[in-house]
Amino acid sequence: MLRLLFVLVPAIHAQLCQPDAENAFKVRFSIRTALGDKAYVWDTNEEYLFKAMVAFSMRKVPNRETTEISHVLLCNVTQRVSFWFVVTDPSKNHTLPAVEIESAIRMNRNRINNAFFLNDQTLEFLKIPTTLAPPTDPPVPIWIIIFGVIFCIVIVAVVLLILSGIRQRRRKSKEPSEADDTEDKCENTITIENGIPCDPLDTKGGHINDAFMTEDERLTPL
């Protein structure tokens, strides 16, 4: 009788856990990507740990507290380190529904990842979407803080400049206006540079008519 069981159990095992079987999930490990030189080798002990973590997750589901490590079946382990797994019920005749397994894994995803030093990208449960972390928004966006600082500095500087300008003008209006503009005077005189006169452009807008001027001198005074 017992010998019959030993023959039957692996057969049932083979039927329950197959790629694309009902309620089966594919798992993919990328250990070298995550750990580089410190990567560990994937062997049967690591598989045992994986089964233990899955069983642990299932035990947290109400009505499934009696899940044992032997209820978790792995199959098709490849060199990639990817395999399929199912979780059977205590009778080992049928597998637990995928929905329960999925919710259990999602609840304990962090514990499972940490057991293997991996994260959501390097330990993939295909068909089980990861829960995205909520965005960590600071209460006040950073750009507003810096904007406030810059704007305040600019406004203060503008006010200071305007006030100093007003004060300068008041001081200037109190002092008598001095002689100035030697530069402007130079501009209006004809300076000779290298023998060529630099006249400014005639801005007066009028011409002196020589013919008219000399007419008086031509006439003999009465």
């Binding site: 490990f29 070298r32 990639r80 300008g165 060529i196």
Partner: protein, 662 residues
């Protein structure tokens, strides 16, 4: 000699002296800062790459020597001699040319509106760079928190941050949307900064220019050193300077490629017909390639326009700056120095930019390979990390021969380094999409982002000083207001007016309007004004009198080179550019590229044509500022005619009296 009939300049009469520069360095830095702007960073490198660096430099240098430097010298000399802003200068040369000055002020006003809007965007990115991780590094979650925003996933994180979280752009130019509060706040801040710096005219800009003109060079050097040490930089530089022939065979005017953004702002860079095509590596020998490139008229047109706008000619800003100089200043040396510094800066910046872009291309190429390798490993169950990037090609060929159907089912993407190097852009696309993505992959990303956007802001700010001075100086010289109103009030009013007008660019469709302004408001008008400037000085003012003035100022007569270029070469060149530009404008359909999430080929930009009223606005913008010239000339003609009538009428009256008396 022409009589000046116009408002009497108050600048150097009466009690208030004309302000002057504290020292020569301030003046040089101001002119350099005005000339060196955003176009040096994001337009010149693009042109270099498109035409293949070495081959592009030849028309560029020729344009510099025969067009850029002579025009620049004219502006500096005339401003320094007549000591007034652009309106006063051209009115003094000839009353009929007074419209040139008014037109320059109008164009400067229009340009400063949208130029400061670009600075607003730069400021927004700058403010957002002070956090780690950078906000454009990841997609935000969607409403249900089950995945990422669909728009972000379909395009990319940087595109999403630019189009959605910065601009919040609509799908069509006629759909204006609402004013974006955060952009409005940043616009107010950037105009406040501009006001702070121009508040007392050159007294205040002269102090600010030390920082705003020199800081970009410091940052460019840092980026150059960092860029050259990044992997992939050398490939980027080699690609930049390799001439490529097949470009203009593949491209047709108006055709666009599948690229997130490659529009090219006008004054920052004018070229409504700039498209892109995928390039193939050149086959023919190097000599033949260069000759073929130089035979293409587009290269010459782009080189000439690049020099013209890069030096910021015909804005009146250089005239304004030079008008504050002492009368005996060697403006010939200044002109040559500043023009050369501007071109050197363009080259320097393009080396820095392309080393970073080469790094980005190498990075993208590596990640493309990694994605393919992961697909292969997962499909064929190879051990993790068993295929390195170098082995990838060999493994792929092996698998293709042994199991081609399985490999085909994987739909692997083709990873070629040239394709990634080809993804270039100019204008805002380069700064806000491509460069921000490159920065994400550099270690210490927030620091580099702060440096980069700080550099862009100071670059744009020093150009804004020139723009504002070209508006404020002529208005001050015209003496429109009573002398008791302080200068701070005038500059404040000017900045306030510009700020209020620029609010239209903070609408959701603001980016589309900015492109309209950039492509049509400035380029054609500036060419017209530059042509009138050089013709006005060479023929109306008289080359003889101008040479005498220059002898007075610099102590040397202008050589044959200057006289020939002023009299013949530059006007001809400008005329050619004008005609060619109009031809290009007429040839290309008036269209724009919209960010439309409903578009079938999203995230490619959708090509749409402008609605009728926008097309009318484009045409108006093209010619309205230039209409000042015939307008003012007509007014002067009428005034002279009326004066002549009055004079002849007055002359006739005494004769009648005499006749009556005797």
């Amino acid at each position: 000699m022409a009589c000046t009939v116009g408002p009497e300049p108050l600048g150097d009469g009466g009690g208030s002296k004309r302000p002057k520069w504290d020292n020569k360095l301030q003046y040089l830095l101001s002119c350099i800062g005005f000339a060196v702007g955003l176009g040096n960073i994001w337009r010149f490198p693009y042109l270099c790459q498109t035409y293949g660096g070495g081959a592009f430099l030849i028309p560029y240098l020729i344009a510099l020597v025969f067009e850029g430097i002579p025009l620049f010298y004219v502006e500096l000399a005339i401003g320094q001699r007549l000591r007034r802003g652009s309106i006063g200068v051209w009115t003094a040369i000839s009353p009929y040319l007074g419209g040139v000055g008014l037109g320059c002020v109008t164009v400067s006003f229009l340009v400063s509106l949208y130029y400061n809007t670009v600075l607003t965007w730069v400021l927004w990115y700058f403010l957002n760079s002070f956090q780690s991780p950078l906000p454009w590094s990841s997609c935000p979650l969607d409403v249900n928190r089950t995945g990422f925003e669909s728009e972000c996933q379909a395009s990319s994180t940087v595109s999403y941050f630019w189009y959605r979280q910065t601009l919040n752009i609509t799908a069509d130019i006629s759909d204006s949307g609402f004013i974006q509060g955060r952009l409005l706040a940043c616009l107010a801040a950037s105009w406040a900064v501009v006001y702070l710096c121009v508040i007392r005219g050159i007294e205040s800009t002269g102090k600010a220019i030390y920082f705003t003109a020199l800081f970009p060079y410091l940052v460019l050097t840092i980026f150059l050193i960092r860029g050259l040490t990044l992997p992939g930089a050398v490939e980027g530089l080699i690609y930049l300077f390799t001439p490529d022939v097949s470009w203009f065979e593949v491209q047709a005017p108006g055709s666009r490629e599948n690229m997130s953004q490659s529009h090219s702002p006008g004054q920052l860079a004018p070229s409504p017909a700039m498209g892109m095509a995928v390039r193939q590596r050149p086959g023919p020998t190097r000599g033949r390639v260069w000759v073929q490139i130089l035979q293409n008229p587009r290269v010459w047109l782009d080189a000439a326009t690049q020099i013209f706008f890069s030096l910021s000619l015909a804005f009146g800003g250089h005239i304004a700056f030079a008008s504050y100089n002492p009368p005996r200043n060697n403006c010939e040396k200044d002109a040559v120095t500043i023009a050369l510094v501007n071109s050197m800066t363009s080259l320097y910046a393009s080396i820095a930019v392309f080393s970073v872009l080469g790094f980005k291309a190498a990075n993208d190429h590596g990640r493309c390979l990694d994605r393919n390798i992961l697909h292969l490993i997962n499909a064929f169950d190879f051990p993790d990390q068993s295929i390195s990037r170098d082995d990838y090609a060999a493994v792929l060929t092996h698998l293709n021969t042994s199991q081609p159907e399985r490999v085909a089912r994987l739909h692997l993407e083709a990873c070629h380094l040239e394709d990634f190097l080809d993804k270039s852009a100019s204008g805002t696309g380069l700064a806000f999409i491509i460069f921000t993505e490159a920065i994400l992959h550099m270690p210490g990303a927030p620091g580099w982002a702060v440096l980069f956007f700080g550099m862009l802001f100071t670059l744009g700010l020093s150009s804004m000083f020139g723009n504002m001075e070209s508006i404020i100086t002529p208005l001050l010289d015209m003496g429109l207001t009573h002398r008791s109103i302080p200068k701070e009030v005038l500059t404040g009013l000017a900045c306030l007016l510009c700020f209020l007008s620029a609010i239209c660019f903070t609408l959701q469709s603001g980016n589309y309007w900015l492109e309209v302004f950039d492509n049509y408001a400035a380029p054609l008008n500036l060419i017209i004004f530059a042509f009138l400037e050089v013709v006005g000085v060479a023929y109306v003012y008289g080359l003889q009198r101008f040479s005498d003035d220059i002898v007075c100022m610099t102590g040397r007569r202008p050589s044959l080179y200057w006289r020939v270029t002023w009299k013949v070469v530059s006007p001809l060149l400008l005329l050619t550019i004008f005609v060619a530009y109009i031809a290009v404008l007429v040839w290309t359909p008036l269209s724009y590229r919209a960010w439309n999430t409903q578009y079938a080929r999203f995230p490619s930009l959708q090509e749409k044509s402008y609605p009728g009223w926008v097309q009318a606005t484009c045409v108006l913008l093209c010619f309205l500022p230039a209409l000042w010239v015939p307008g003012v000339a007509l007014v002067q003609l009428l005034a002279k005619h009326r004066r002549k009538q009055k004079d002849t009428w007055q002359d006739r009256r005494p004769k009648l009296q005499d006749g009556g008396a005797s």
